[in-house]
């Protein structure tokens, strides 16, 4: 039998703040700012995002319009700020639904195994065959464009992904002796699953939710970009990339590029945060 090398001084807790983690701080700040922008859009936006001025189309940055105007003469900064709302709400809903459903299915599958697990895993395999965007397009073809159909479709298509990742971890936890000790100790299955397994799966769940958020945002923005999601003139980044595209040839790429930049910044922030949380977690796994 292997002699375990005991870690004699405890590995530092993941949340220990000996050195400030600039990745977490900066990405966290970006995400917090975005959320604040979404909540306080009416206060922050200098102008009405829907007010068109045909006399001032495609202007460059000026005192009146800090980031210039779009091809209808609307203030770009205001539209970008209002755009945060729908651009974040959609992916947030998708991840919330997919995580909730995925986690419940994952833990039940991991605990009960047997036919339930097989059915769930098989269903996940089949759903996996539909790339999220294709699924969303099928939904739009059925129910028409808008926010609801793509969000529901993407929620369904993100569920098996999250389910698989969480199930693997839940299954690993379930097979650890501490869970067996809980079972032998007489704890009810519900208590074991929630108080022990779910709690130990939680860090992974947060990481996966953060990482998937970026992908969901991109997918949903792509749906809007294709004209299948939220419709113009609603301010939303994917829509703005699309409506601004015709002005590029005329030498006015600002609307598309700025909206695109917002998407990139948001996605990169969520990805970096997720990666960093993931690597911190690895550090806490036993040596």
């Amino acid at each position: 039998m292997a002699t375990l090398e005991a870690p004699l001084v405890a590995t530092p807790a993941p949340r220990s703040r000996r050195r400030p983690d600039w990745v977490v701080l900066s990405t966290g700040t970006v995400i917090a700012l975005l959320v604040l922008m979404a909540v306080f859009a009416p206060l922050l936006a200098p102008d009405n995002p829907d007010y068109a001025n045909i006399l001032a189309t495609n202007q460059g940055p000026s005192a009146a319009h800090l980031l210039g105007t779009d091809s209808f003469g609307r203030d770009l900064l205001s539209r970008l700020i209002y755009g945060v709302r729908l651009s974040l709400l959609g992916p947030a809903l998708i991840i919330l639904i997919a995580t909730l459903v995925g986690t419940v299915l994952a833990i039940l599958s991991a605990w009960y195994g047997g036919w339930f697990d097989r059915v769930v895993s098989r269903a996940a395999d089949i759903l996996f065959a539909f790339p999220g965007l294709i699924f969303a397009m099928l939904a739009v073809a059925m129910f028409g464009p808008g926010l609801v159909a793509p969000v529901v479709a993407l929620s369904i298509s993100y569920t098996p992904y999250l389910m698989r990742v969480i199930r693997a971890e839940a299954l690993r936890q379930r097979n650890l002796p501490y869970v067996a000790a809980c079972y032998v100790g007489g704890l009810s299955v519900r208590t074991i699953c929630t108080r022990h397994i779910l709690r130990n799966v939680m860090p992974l769940l947060v990481v996966q939710a953060a990482l998937s958020f970026g992908y969901a945002l991109v997918d949903l923005a792509a749906v809007s970009y294709l004209g299948l999601g939220v419709q113009p003139p609603t301010p939303e980044w994917g829509v703005m990339v699309s409506t601004g595209q015709s002005a590029i040839l005329a030498g006015h790429p600002q609307e598309s590029l700025l909206a695109g930049l917002m998407i990139v910044i948001t996605v990169v922030a969520f990805n970096l945060l997720g990666d960093r949380l993931a690597s911190r977690q690895k550090g806490t796994v036993r040596p």
């Binding site: 039998m1 002699t3 375990l4 090398e5 005991a6 004699l8 530092p12």
Partner: protein, 332 residues
């Protein structure tokens, strides 16, 4: 000339950006054909010591002291010399063959690789490998060459690892807990073969293990490590008769015996310390029943005593006492 000479070896490894001590002071030599057991509990640094010999420490490790193979400094070797040293002079057997053999390549690939690497002809290498497989008691060697590691049992796979080590005809064999992952009867089988083939070929061996009795059975000398210090070096046959260091005595007394049980085991109190945790005095002092004030303040030097060497201030006065009165039992 000695095959291996280790002088005041100290090793630090980078842990979270800072260097952490894993070995303090190890001085040890192995003569031609001699087998030395390096024994210690977890955190003692025994694996690191064996890896330092073949320069297999993680990147960023700081090594102090001197390691000489047949008089040449291993630490000073350039790339080509190190490769020659590893391909011709030394071979290592690791603890867990399942992890230490590439799982996606065949046994044949594994065994031949080292020989082909040093430019031997494929046919010759193949013949040599088949012969050495047979010598370590692997049946149907030619079929084994086509098999993958997962198709072999643990004991068989460890024999393959030993065959790989013998195949390069080294002068020095490093064995790092080679039987720890195996069942006892398999361990016995593997040790018989390792011991016999080593003696036949006159190989020198550094045998790293946590099991004092196992080391005593197959080695000429036993070196005991505690928290990165070499605390005792004694002839294996002398080990039970002539106890010199309280830690070694404690280790022997901790182990139950299947035939002659003790009513109560003489446990050493506390837990084994890691090298980086030790204070100013003797590393074992906090757990030692015989420690006096001096032990806590002053580090004992390794010095010659009878047929061996020992690092204990009170070794002479305790001689004879240790065997009779095992350290009192206690808890952490």
């Amino acid at each position: 000339m000695n095959v291996l000479e280790i002088n005041h070896l100290a090793v630090e490894l980078p842990v979270e950006g800072a260097l952490r001590r894993v070995l303090h002071d190890v001085t040890l030599s192995i003569g031609p054909g001699e087998a030395v057991g390096l024994v210690g509990e977890s955190g003692a640094g025994k694996s690191m010591a064996s890896r330092a010999v073949i320069r297999l420490l993680p990147a960023g490790a700081a090594v102090h002291g001197d390691i000489r193979y047949s008089g040449d400094s291993v630490l000073a070797m350039d790339r080509a010399a190190l490769r020659h040293f590893r391909t011709h002079d030394v071979a290592m057997v690791f603890q867990d063959p399942r992890a230490h053999i590439n799982p996606v390549r065949t046994i044949g690939d594994f065994l031949l690789e080292a020989l082909l690497e040093r430019g031997e002809r494929r046919d010759d290498a193949r013949a040599a490998v088949i012969a050495v497989l047979a010598a370590v008691g692997v049946s149907e060697p030619e079929r084994r060459l086509r098999q993958f590691p997962h198709e072999l049992s643990g004991g068989l796979l460890q024999r393959v690892m030993i065959a790989a080590a013998l195949a390069v005809s080294p002068t020095l064999l490093l064995a790092d807990e080679p039987t720890t992952a195996l069942d006892v009867t398999t361990q016995s089988d593997v040790m018989v073969i390792l011991d016999a083939r080593r003696r036949e070929r006159g190989l020198a061996m550094l045998f790293v293990t946590h099991d004092l009795e196992l080391a005593a059975a197959v080695c000429d000398r036993i070196a005991v490590l505690y928290a990165g210090f070499l605390v005792e070096d004694a002839p294996a046959g002398d080990l039970h008769r002539n106890l010199r260091h309280p830690y070694t005595a404690g280790l022997l007394a901790s182990r139950p015996d299947p035939v002659a049980p003790r009513p109560r085991l003489a446990a050493i109190p506390g837990r084994p310390l890691s090298a980086f945790e030790v204070g100013a005095g003797c590393a074992f002092a906090p757990r030692c029943a015989f420690a006096v004030e001096r032990c806590h303040l002053e580090r004992p030097e390794l010095r010659v005593l009878d047929a061996g060497r020992v690092a204990c201030h009170r070794a002479e006065e305790l001689a004879g006492q240790l065997a009779l009165s095992p350290t009192p039992g206690g808890s952490e």
